[in-house]
Amino acid sequence: MTAAHIEIDQVTTDVLIAGTGGAGMRAAIEARRAGVDVTVLAKGPVRATHTRMSGGRFNAMSGQNPTDNHDIFFEDTLRGGSQLNNRRLARILVEEAMDRAYDLESWGLVWERKESDRYLLAGSGGGTQLRMLGSFDEGIGITEVMLHVMRGMGTHVAENHMLVDIVFDDAGAVTGALALDVRAGRWKFFQAGAVIVATGGTSQLYETNSGPALNTGDGIALAYRAGAELVDIEFMQFIPISFVFPPSIRGYTLTEPPFYGTRHLDINGEPGHLLNTNGERFILRHDPVRREGGTRDVLARAIMLEILEGRGTPEGGVWLKPDPAVAPHFQRERPLYTKRILENYGERAARFEEAFQVMPSALYTTGGIRIDPWGHTTVPGLYAAGEAAGGVHGANRLGASSMPDIQVFGRRAGLTAAAECRERHGDAGQGLRWARSRAEALEGPLTRDSGGGPAELKRRLQNLTTTEVGLVRSAAGLQGARETLERYRAEELPKLRTHGSTRVLNREWMETIELENMIDVLGAMTAAALARTETRGAHYRQDFPDRDDDEWLANLYVRRVAGADKAEKRPLVQLAASASEVV
């Protein structure tokens, strides 16, 4: 088949947004408000997003806890991030979070309250204050109210459209993006002056993960291929406690130990206890002060080390012993979690009357595409927000800080893209030619007669990531992973094929495209993890087990140069000397 035979539909829009989680929808709402034409792509159904799965907890300075203030929230964020956070982004998060919480309220989300005008504030892992808002309907409520507002504003929503690559003209200007309409099996070239990547993270790289099946790091990978820099990509956040069984739910988050003890409502209270199979409260060896109320990085690593060193259960977990006195609060505040515990671990566990098994699980891609405070990436015309972007959270994210992040920076990216989309006019004809040749290459798996399907390679890739680029890393393992990845890229990817030749909803076809993305992101992650010769936040090197502030109070940026992943160390991004960033 030659390029001329590939059919590509052409669609023109001002701002193209990929992703219908919190960041993508927030960007769409803001761009529509600015009066431009907005098209939003959902890789699957519009509700199949990571935000939807979230507990929806939201750190914000409501002004209703008199002992809390912006500076404390900022300090908590930096301490949680092991001091690597981009200060400008972190400060904006702190200052704008509450306005975005009010936006959600104005769209009909009802934050839980103890009086009609007093929010119920709670404490999250790593936070030193009660500052967390929440609602019964969690991420479902957040995404649902946003969806209704976004649709009501006349945003074009294209479901089952997978963003494949950013499209440039011959002069290197962004002219839009190539997408695959998975439902129709047709290629589409979206001609746009601005493209926002809000496709979420890459938790599917790991065998045990807490994210949606569609989050294979597509947006991070295609921005990276388009020349964008990634930052802090070595830091993959694991939720410390998730379900261990049954298989369907293994890896799904159980949030954090503070919820299972009195610390949830009293910042000086006791979190739920973690025990190994000897009955030892092992966290006291790792974090004697914060105990199980510490940050996710320390907790997840401590649990994983217990399991690796043979003090875990046969099923691969440790025990969480909740406080039965807290059960009525938990049931009232987190009924959706109570339901999962009841269905999978039984009634006594749901009543907190017995300990149950927990394990760490890949949750959140802490780093990602480098952005400035207005969502610009290092590629003009390409913007990013949400979990796909990096820098806000440094080396580890505080619990309940992803929800404000995606609202705050989703809005900012939407504003910027709307303001700038009409400044740029790439050559659409050249863009279409480029898109056509890329689409042609991706038709390969449909037409090959031999070779394996993607499922088997995906499993091997997930195993490689978990073993060598997971919670416990070393130079030898990372180097080996790099070599394996090169082999996958050179020898295995080009031979993948789909067993059926239908173009309509061909899952194997989509998975072969995902695999290239996963390999690209993992390449960048591995390069950064190899370069960072210390242990910090979510990044643990067995061969460099200590934090090294002399050498490594710095960020790593990764760029693809002539096909190779190049990691570069640069100084931290400090606050601007003068005026506030907030608008």
Binding site: T49, R52, D117, D137
Partner: protein
């Protein structure tokens, strides 16, 4: 754990774009005792039937995208326990894209038509919107509807009469209870067929989110019979002001 159960599963296969007739393919999946229906489908896809079209994302009953019929009953594949003999079909009465995946275009159009963003009399003031805690909680419970269309699939009135379906009534009820919303939600509910409901409660019995669309509909019905109780819960305003 010894797991000796083998699931025998018949799966509906259809590709309207191909012109081929619909059919059922049969598969066996071993070790199914702890599986959900979704695990069975994933196993069939990975091992036996690489071109099966099915849909899922979250695995935990939140995204609402894996609805299917198992032995004639509409369920979420990720929540329903696998049993030894299963026939899996797409949710009715929706058009099929391929195999187990339905076309939700019309469903999404219904949501848009209902204009479910709150219609506020004044913009949000940037301070907390007063809502009584218990009432706020009741609203948020309705807010946890996942939009899976299990209730619409199960509803006999949807099949026979001009009724959009229980899920949409639940969304309208949520807004009717939200103090900030001034939209004509009762009138919308009537216009979209609320009075056609048989009151059979099938929606509530099958709701995977443990919600009661039937109660939402009853709330609207009592407003029709007893007068509007905007802004109030039933007990507070039963005199119909």
């Amino acid at each position: 754990m010894a797991d000796t159960m083998t699931a025998h599963v018949r799966i509906f296969r259809s590709d309207p774009s191909s012109g081929e007739p619909d059919r059922y393919d049969e598969f066996e999946v071993t070790g199914a005792a702890t599986m959900r229906v979704l695990d069975v489908l994933r196993s069939v896809y990975e091992h036996d039937c690489h071109d099966l079209a099915f849909q899922y994302a979250c695995r935990i009953g939140r995204c609402g995208t894996c609805g299917v019929q198992v032995n004639g009953k509409p369920v979420l594949a990720c929540q329903e326990r696998a049993i030894a003999e299963m026939t899996v079909e797409p949710l009715s009465p929706f058009p099929v894209v391929r195999d187990l995946v339905i076309d939700r275009t019309e469903v999404e159009e219904h949501y848009v038509e209902l204009d479910l963003a709150p219609q506020r009399s004044a913009p949000h003031a940037g301070v907390i919107d007063p809502v009584e805690p218990e009432r706020g909680r009741a609203i948020s419970i309705l807010g946890s509807c996942i939009g899976c269309m299990i209730c619409v699939s199960a509803c006999p009135a949807v099949q026979d009469r001009p009724f959009d379906g229980p899920a949409f009534m639940l969304q309208l009820r949520r807004l009717a209870d939200l103090p900030a919303d001034q939209g004509p939600r009762l009138e919308q509910a009537i216009e979209h067929g609320m009075l056609e409901c048989f009151g059979c409660d099938a929606c509530t019995q099958l709701c995977p989110a443990d919600l009661s669309p039937a109660d939402a509909i009853r709330g609207f019905r009592s407003e029709v019979l007893l007068g509007r109780r905007r802004g109030g819960r039933r007990k507070e305003n039963s005199n119909g002001n």
